[in-house]
């Protein structure tokens, strides 16, 4: 039986995941397992964009199989128990996340591009900090219980502060 395609086809640019000090293929798989476990456990993780793109595709596959076939499907369960090392997360995938996202039509995960952090660490005597640039994202599972990240919604034009002030001034004159 053909495996159904993902609901969102992500295009991964062929770039390195910037993994250090690992063996070639097994180390990469091991790192992907760690990141997937973190994503399923915490529902939102921060990582660099290339790791996020890879991890996102694996997570989409796991969640979609869990939603479509359920825990009694052999291949889905094998996949889940291979990629999630902690077995409590397999329970979470099938019992918590799959029911939550069963009506989702546009993918199960979301990536937010984060701003550069302040570079305090480059200053002499500054605190040790992060050394990345333009490469830091937050990867989350949708409908999670964490405080929501949302870009600031653009208010109506009448609610802009200059327009409010102008309206108040006009009212005071009239």
């Amino acid at each position: 039986m053909a495996i159904p395609p993902l609901k969102i086809a992500h295009r991964i640019r062929p770039k390195s995941m910037k993994l250090r000090c690992i063996q070639e293929a097994p180390g990469r798989v091991e790192k992907l397992r760690v990141m997937l476990g973190g994503l399923i456990r915490h529902e939102r993780i921060e990582l660099n964009s290339h790791r996020a793109a890879e991890t996102r595709d694996y997570a989409e596959r796991l969640i979609q199989d869990a939603v479509l076939y359920g825990p009694h499907h052999k291949r889905s369960m094998e996949m889940a128990s291979f990629w999630l090392k902690e077995k409590e997360l397999v329970h979470k995938l099938f019992k918590v996340i799959a029911p939550r996202l069963e009506n989702e039509t546009r993918g199960f995960t979301k990536i937010w591009v984060l701003a550069d952090p302040e570079k305090t660490s480059y200053e002499p005597g500054g605190l040790p900090g992060v050394h990345y640039k333009n490469d830091w994202v937050a990867l989350e599972i949708k409908n999670n219980p964490l405080p929501p990240i949302r870009p600031n919604p653009t208010p109506h034009r009448s609610l802009y502060i200059p327009n409010l002030l102008l309206a108040a001034a006009a009212a005071s004159i009239a």
Partner: protein
């Protein structure tokens, strides 16, 4: 300076010998000048007479600082410096952020709250127990859902308001 003039004279002599040049015009006849030092005091119409008193050019007397040099360089047209057009002002807090990223100032408060909730979640779920239920975050002064399978996380503080809802009203007024 005297040594320089001597070396210049010798150079001229040697070049005349090697290339079989004709004798120089009287104004360039350094050999004659060197042999007859009294002629130096006499005024001459040629601009080349400056050579009699040594070579002097306008030179820089003070060092330009690095900042000043860079400032001059950036002003040059080939440096091709342009103002950034990809910055946006966050509507909620007024800080600048790049157009493709989240506002860092707003996200910092979201992340701080996320860490609190994540810690509470991991305590609620425990270690090595199957995760079978959703989580509901309840802040201080909020109603708890009753007769529901969700696990309740109580956080002993008020739900954070990251910004004022109505700018026309004064807050913290007794």
């Amino acid at each position: 300076m005297n040594a320089l003039r001597k070396s210049l004279l010798s150079l001229l002599e040697s070049s005349r010998n090697t290339f079989q040049l004709p004798l120089p015009i009287p104004a360039l006849n350094f050999a004659a000048l060197a042999a007859n030092p009294d002629s130096r005091s006499q005024p001459s119409a040629s601009f080349l007479d400056d050579l009699k008193e040594g070579l002097l050019r306008a030179v820089q007397t003070n060092r330009r600082s690095v900042q000043r040099r860079q400032w001059r360089r950036i002003g040059m047209p080939q440096f091709n410096s342009k103002p950034r057009r990809d910055l946006k002002v966050c509507i909620a807090c007024g800080n600048l952020h790049e157009a493709h990223t989240l506002c860092g100032h707003c996200y910092a408060s979201v992340r701080a709250e996320t860490e609190v909730v994540k810690e509470a979640m991991s305590k609620t779920y425990g270690h090595l127990k199957p995760i079978e239920h959703e989580v509901v975050v309840v802040y201080e002064g909020e109603a708890k859902p009753k007769d529901r399978p969700e696990k309740i996380i109580e956080i002993p503080k008020k739900r954070p308001d990251f910004f004022a809802k109505n700018l026309l009203e004064k807050e913290n007024v007794a």
